[in-house]
């Protein structure tokens, strides 16, 4: 154990009454401490040597604390600087012993994007979109908008690639809403079950007061609403003098409809979409998904008599444990439903397309264009499934302890 003060990285604390969330926003390492543990950590961060901090703890709480194990925990969380002593801190100071992290880039852009003026512009855009839909109901979002041309190939490519910039915009809104709060957010490609997802890593939200988390969580849906609104207004602007909408305008309406469908897909909360994070924030949970998964696993292992495989339930947060009682069945049903859709609908349809393509190849009477349409669609769809599977394998490899 170090005899002098230990050097700690720059830590953020969020006091939530019966627990204190502490972490480093520069490398996204966070722990949920009991209030007495957080107080002890503050003493160490304040420059008190571990031995003195242990004595302080005994005086304050009336019982001795295992300070060695506590230091090990801090080390596991990467809260201690490289050598764990104050002399090794980034700024070289022995007192205070805090290594400061650089603020994230684009913080000002994030602030501007969610300023009152920006919100006024967003509101005006949405009002304009609603107004043009009322004036011309043909612009309103309906399923038929997807088929904006008779050429299926064009429909496929537009839906596939036309959405991509707006998927990025959705994540960019999350990212910048996080940067606005000083968090080091980043964007990645991931998967949920067999769905390919763009995701923004915003782990730092756990040390932000709950009322400030709603904007970063909902920022993506805000971007989707703005996208659909802007595309609808553009479609209206492209109208011919006789009121008909040209193909470019109809393509905008197709992408707008798919973007709105993306908002509905957020309701798959069991896939840990934005709505999942919204629900867990409202309910005050810490890690509901992991708790629910472990709860289900433990039930299964108990049924099978494999008690050696049980997860340690003492590590579950009490609120997560309480919510998981009703969330875990929903989570299981949701996953089962999605797998049923894959097995009973998506894969048979893919098989149907394959059959269509093979029939087109073997039947000289079928136009070649029709064959290529079906084949390209199949390649695009299966390609996404394969990519999702590859990402799942990658994530599994990364999560394995080295």
């Amino acid at each position: 154990m170090p005899t002098g003060p230990v050097a700690l990285h720059d830590l953020r604390y969020l006091d939530e009454g019966d627990r204190v969330v502490v972490g480093r926003t520069d490398c996204d390492s966070y722990g949920v401490f009991p209030p007495d543990g957080a107080a002890l950590l503050r003493e160490l961060a304040g420059g008190r040597a571990p031995q003195d901090a242990a004595v302080w703890y005994t005086d304050r709480y009336g019982e001795p604390v295992d300070i060695d194990e506590f230091l090990d925990t801090l080390r596991d969380l990467d809260f201690l600087s490289a050598d764990g002593s104050a002399d090794g801190s980034a700024d070289g100071s022995a007192d205070g012993a805090v290594a400061h992290a650089a603020p994230p880039r684009w913080q000002k852009l994030g602030a501007a994007l969610f300023s009152p003026l920006a919100w006024a512009c967003y509101a005006a855009l949405v009002v304009a979109a609603v107004a043009v839909c009322v004036a011309d109901p043909r612009l309103a979002p309906t399923r038929g908008n997807v088929f904006f041309t008779d050429y299926l190939l064009i429909v496929e490519l537009t839906i596939l690639f036309g959405q991509l910039p707006f998927v990025v915009l959705h994540e960019l809104f999350h990212l910048l809403a996080g940067r606005r709060l000083g968090l080091h957010s980043s964007m990645h490609l991931g998967h949920r079950l067999y769905f390919l997802v763009a995701e923004t890593k915003l782990d730092g939200l756990v040390v932000v007061p709950r009322r400030q988390r709603y904007l970063p969580i909902l920022a993506g849906v805000v971007a989707d609403v703005l996208t659909a609104s802007a595309l609808t207004v553009v479609a209206w602007l492209t109208r011919h003098p006789d009121g008909t909408v040209p193909v470019a305008g109809r393509a905008c309406l197709a992408v707008a409809f798919m973007t709105l469908l993306g908002i509905l897909a957020q309701l798959y909360f069991f896939l840990r979409t934005d709505v999942y994070h919204l629900i867990t924030t409202v309910l005050g949970c810490v890690d509901l998904h992991t708790t629910a998964r472990e709860l289900l696993h433990n039930r299964m292992w108990r049924l099978l008599g494999r008690t050696d495989r049980l997860a340690d339930e003492t590590r579950w947060d009490p609120r997560d444990r309480a919510v998981a009682r009703w969330y875990a069945p929903l989570y299981a049903i949701g996953y089962a439903a999605m797998l049923a859709v894959l097995v009973f609908i998506a894969l048979p349809l893919a098989w149907h397309f394959l059959g269509t393509a093979v029939a087109a190849v073997t039947d000289p009477a079928v136009p070649a264009a029709r064959f290529w349409d079906a084949l390209l669609f199949l390649v695009a769809s299966v390609g996404q499934l394969v990519l999702a599977a590859a990402l799942a394998v990658r994530d599994r490899r990364r999560s394995r302890p080295s």
Binding site: D66, I67, L152, E156, V197, A265, H277, T280, D287, Q384
Partner: protein, 48 residues
């Protein structure tokens, strides 16, 4: 000082309070890039 602490820790480790620290959950905000079923159903209808 360090020696005393080590001895104390060893001899009374079972009586010492262990501070349980839980890992906070990851926050990954997402957007599904696709909706396989919807796309396939539409195209199945379109192809007939």
């Amino acid at each position: 000082m360090a020696q005393i602490a080590t001895e104390t820790s060893t001899s009374t480790s079972t009586e010492m309070k262990k501070i349980v620290v839980r890992k906070a959950g990851a926050v990954r905000l997402t957007r599904l890039c696709n909706n396989y079923c919807y796309g396939m159903c539409c195209c199945a209808e379109f192809l007939g």
